[in-house]
């Protein structure tokens, strides 16, 4: 097996066969690109990920970051990998040429992100946050701010962070207390404490640009009174970089991503921390919201990347590890031992991992592709349609990918048995690294509230209706293919269940029983994810089935034996057969549970709410 980070064939299948991203090149916006260039980018990314980023992953995990004399040091091996990443221009891949990037489609960016994250999630945190911060300056910064900060950040010369969280302000960002006082020269003096700040300090770059949410003196309480500031670690005075009074108080010891510094930062301990307003006062939350889709999708890619690598490693292990005889010879003590991939329970786990990973890949690439279609749209309606898909799918992409990605890594450990629990094999690190994705960038619980409380309500259910219509079209198309009957039926049924629960939520939200949708927001999000992933797998199966039939036809494989022979000798045929199987498996073992899941939600069961706190346990 070549690449242990990602199934490259599947990556290309989604990009070229499912989404047909080559078509984007026909639009003016992407006219200078071609399939050949996309392939070169994917190959170059694969090579860098495999040869440079992945080999530093375990080292980063074991060494972690250290805080010494107030300065954070990343593992030594990260310096070279980071430098190569920046020199290659990877951070700015989708950034427009005008702003110093290459302007590639977001779908290509998505694929490279999956690869890089699969290789080394902790390392990718540094450029990931830098790009997030630079994006804000690109969109809202003045020309001078762009030249001073953004250019250096896209080039990887300076890094960036996002400083939202404070001890009392986690999910509830509106509770933040960091203070900004306007100076006579138009700058602001910043004082406050931030915690959990990823990449808050490190020695990869000479300067770090913090994007800090703070409250200007006298601003209204809650989210309405939040502004956002550019606060460099070292500010520019004349030609020099001088210390800007940002101190690293501590770094967290944590479950995973050991090599990503999670810092507690103090701003203005000596009353000498200067911030520069981005946009206007009290616009901080609006500005952050604008970047939220991109950031949440990026976290979804972390779940996918870990799932992808975990599956590939588990598959290889299952083929290599001999244990026990084949089931039919179980009683014979001298029966030959077989690789564990021959045991049904192991196969079932692999099949689940395969179908879920491929489904999430389809979903996330599709979300990125929606971004491309917005850029390439010929009409406002077209752009609005894809924006709508994106808006409703984002919480699902973020939560489902991180939750299911984690479960894929968990099964990878399971398949490795005792070895999987040990450091010697990489899968336990995947599991630990993956877990954070369901927590930061808005916990998955907060995502569910966004989905149910906000997105379902937009335009009286407009977003949901448009997704339902899109899946309905696919369904109509798929129903024409008799061979796909076993996939289509469970999908049809699960989709109908989702629509019914959505309607039920709609009714509840206009009665006084609005608690039910809130209480069941997460199970609903999960059901939504099942259907969204099922939609992707069905879409893929329609294509794969057609290709497979063509290959059978070309090879005149008209009997089961001849087909089996073709699957053994023809890689494409084997691949397409696997795609159809992913959809079959997911439809029959996951989507078929939709009815039960819907019933659980609509039971309206309220004990979780009604139970007096005293009754949860006697402390």
């Amino acid at each position: 097996m070549a690449n242990l980070l990602i199934d490259e064939r599947d990556m290309k299948f989604v990009l070229y066969e499912q989404l047909n991203i080559e078509e984007l090149c026909e639009s003016q916006h992407y006219a200078e690109f071609s399939r050949e260039m996309f392939d070169m980018v994917l190959d170059a990314a694969t090579k860098l990920a495999e040869k440079e980023l992945a080999p530093t992953n375990a080292d980063g995990d074991q060494k972690g970051v250290v805080l010494e004399n107030g300065e954070v040091k990343v593992p030594e091996s990260f310096h070279r990998a980071y430098q190569l990443y920046c020199e290659g221009g990877w951070a700015a891949l989708p950034v427009s040429e005008e702003h110093g990037g290459q302007g590639f489609p977001l779908s290509i960016y998505g694929a490279t992100t999956e690869l890089f994250v699969a290789a080394n999630q902790a390392l990718l945190m540094y450029p990931g946050l830098t790009v997030g911060a630079a994006r804000l300056i690109e969109k809202y910064g003045t020309e001078a701010q762009q030249r001073t900060y953004m250019d250096n950040m896209y080039a990887g010369v300076w890094a960036g962070t996002m400083c939202l969280t404070e001890p009392q302000a986690g999910s509830d960002v509106g509770a933040l207390r960091t203070k900004a006082v306007k100076n006579s020269d138009g700058t602001y003096s910043i004082t406050g404490n931030k915690i959990f700040i990823s990449a808050g300090d490190h020695d990869l770059t000479e300067n770090i640009i913090h994007m800090v949410l703070a409250r200007v003196e006298g601003a209204p309480p809650g989210t309405k009174g939040i502004s956002i500031f550019i606060v460099p670690k070292k500010r520019i005075e004349g030609e020099e970089l001088v210390d800007n009074d940002v101190t690293t108080m501590a770094i967290e010891k944590k479950l995973g991503i050991h090599a990503s510094a999670t810092c507690a930062l103090n701003f203005g301990e000596k009353d000498n921390c200067i911030g520069y307003l981005l946009g206007e006062e009290n616009q901080g939350m609006r500005i952050m919201f604008n970047m939220m889709n991109e950031a949440r999708l990026a976290v979804g890619y972390q779940g996918l990347g870990q799932a992808s690598a975990a599956y590939m490693y588990a598959l290889r292990y299952a083929k290599d590890r001999f244990q026990g005889p084949e089931i039919s010879t179980m009683k014979d003590p001298v029966a030959p031992k077989v690789p564990i991939i021959q045991h049904p329970d192991v196969r079932r786990m692999l099949m689940w991992m395969k179908s879920v990973t491929e489904g999430i890949r389809g979903l996330l690439y599709f979300a990125s592709y929606c971004g491309d279609r917005i850029h390439a749209a010929k009409t406002d309606e077209e752009a609005a349609k894809y924006q709508g898909f994106l808006d409703i799918l984002i919480p699902v992409c973020k939560s489902y990918s991180s939750d299911m990605g984690f479960r894929v890594t968990e099964l990878a450990v399971q398949i490795h048995g005792g070895y999987g629990y040990c450091r010697e094999y990489p899968v336990e690190q995947f599991l630990r690294d993956c877990k954070i994705a369901s927590i930061y960038e808005g916990t998955n619980g907060i995502q569910a509230l966004d989905l149910v409380g906000r997105k379902l309500g937009v335009g009286q259910g407009l977003l949901f209706k448009s997704i339902a219509a899109e899946t309905g079209n696919l369904l109509k198309n798929a129903k024409k293919n008799f061979r796909l009957k076993d996939i289509v039926e469970p999908f049809d049924e699960a989709r109908a269940q989702l629509i019914e629960v959505t309607r039920y939520f709609g009714l509840k939200s206009i009665t006084e029983d609005f608690m039910t949708p809130i209480l069941y927001a997460t199970p609903y999000q999960d059901l939504f994810g099942d259907v969204a992933v099922g939609f992707m797998l069905l879409w893929q199966a329609v294509i794969a089935d057609r290709r497979l039939e063509e290959l059978y036809g070309d090879a005149k494989a008209d009997t089961p034996e001849k087909k089996a022979e073709l699957l053994r000798t023809n890689r494409s045929a084997a691949f397409y057969r696997g795609k159809v199987a992913s959809a079959e498996f997911f439809a029959n073992t996951v989507l078929s549970l939709a009815k039960g899941k819907a019933r659980a939600i609509m039971s309206g069961e309220r004990s979780a709410i009604d139970l007096p706190e005293e009754s949860f346990a006697l402390f």
């Binding site: 097996m1 070549a2 690449n3 490259e8 064939r9 200078e32 071609s34 050949e36 260039m37 392939d39 070169m40 980018v41 190959d43 170059a44 090579k47 860098l48 440079e52 190569l84 020199e87 290659g88 221009g89 990877w90 700015a92 891949l93 290459q102 590639f104 000798t569 023809n570 890689r571 494409s572 691949f575």
Partner: protein
């Protein structure tokens, strides 16, 4: 310093090779192709020379079907200036001699100070093209190069090469043919700006006729087969060691015929 880099596209080392059922070749469907790793060393070395002397050109010379464009473009993305792609039906599956003939003809049309080849290609492992090319062009050659110093007057080079158990240092006049070995350098990665630039660089397409060549193949494959699968071992259990030794020796002599 003008360098010609002869570059071949080969299946990725990690690809599991399958032989076509009729034995006429390997199954190419779904194979991932890459630049022959030894040719990557050549590209890198040629780029370094151009950078060092701040003058000259790096030209990629490739024989092969359409798919090879990607390999050429990747070398262009690393920084090479332009490519020559000899793409001719008659040269698919050509033997080393035909390839050397084509390269010699193309090289003669181009002009050069140095010609780089990989010391072998990792697909068919012949390791003959570089040597044949030098002979056809009547140039000196140094094979298995691990270090290269070009004299300031660019008239000669001091070259280190691998020999059994050590290194050999050779001085060679230019122009010459060098074949690259692992250790020569560490090839750079193609960057995104490099990929964007590569798009605009020129690749000249040529046929055998353009070069005035009709291939004179010296070798033709008759059949491809996979190496035989290793048979499961035999176990001699539940017996006295002395008896087991006797049986094993007998088996080695009469069954395995190795002693």
């Amino acid at each position: 310093m003008k360098s010609l880099v002869c570059l071949k596209q080969v299946p990725d080392t990690e690809t599991q090779i399958k032989v076509k059922p009729d034995g006429t070749g390997i199954v190419t469907d779904g194979i991932k192709y890459v630049i022959n790793p030894y040719d990557e060393f050549s590209v890198e070395e040629a780029l370094r020379l151009k950078e060092k002397f701040k003058a000259g050109e790096v030209v990629i010379l490739t024989v092969g079907p359409d798919r090879c464009t990607e390999a050429i473009r990747t070398a262009l993305a690393m920084g090479a200036d332009r490519g020559i792609h000899v793409n001719d039906e008659s040269l698919n599956d050509a033997d080393p001699y035909s390839i050397a003939q084509v390269l010699a003809a193309a090289a003669s049309q181009e002009g050069y100070d140095l010609i780089f080849c990989g010391h072998r290609a990792i697909d068919d492992d012949f390791g003959e093209v570089g040597a044949m090319l030098a002979e056809l062009l009547q140039l000196p050659q140094v094979t298995l190069v691990t270090k290269l110093e070009i004299a300031d007057d660019t008239q000669s080079a001091v070259v280190e090469r691998d020999v059994e158990g050590g290194k050999e240092v050779i001085e060679v006049p230019l122009p010459c043919v060098l074949t690259s070995q692992k250790g020569l350098n560490e090839p750079r990665y193609a960057s995104l700006p490099g990929i964007m630039k590569a798009k605009k660089k020129k690749i000249d397409k040529k046929t055998a006729a353009d070069l005035g060549i009709t291939s004179e193949r010296k070798l033709a494959p008759t059949e491809y087969t996979m190496p035989p699968e290793r048979k499961a071992g035999k176990k001699y259990e539940d017996m006295e060691p002395a008896e087991a030794a006797k049986i094993v020796v007998e088996a080695l002599r009469s069954e395995a015929k190795v002693i």
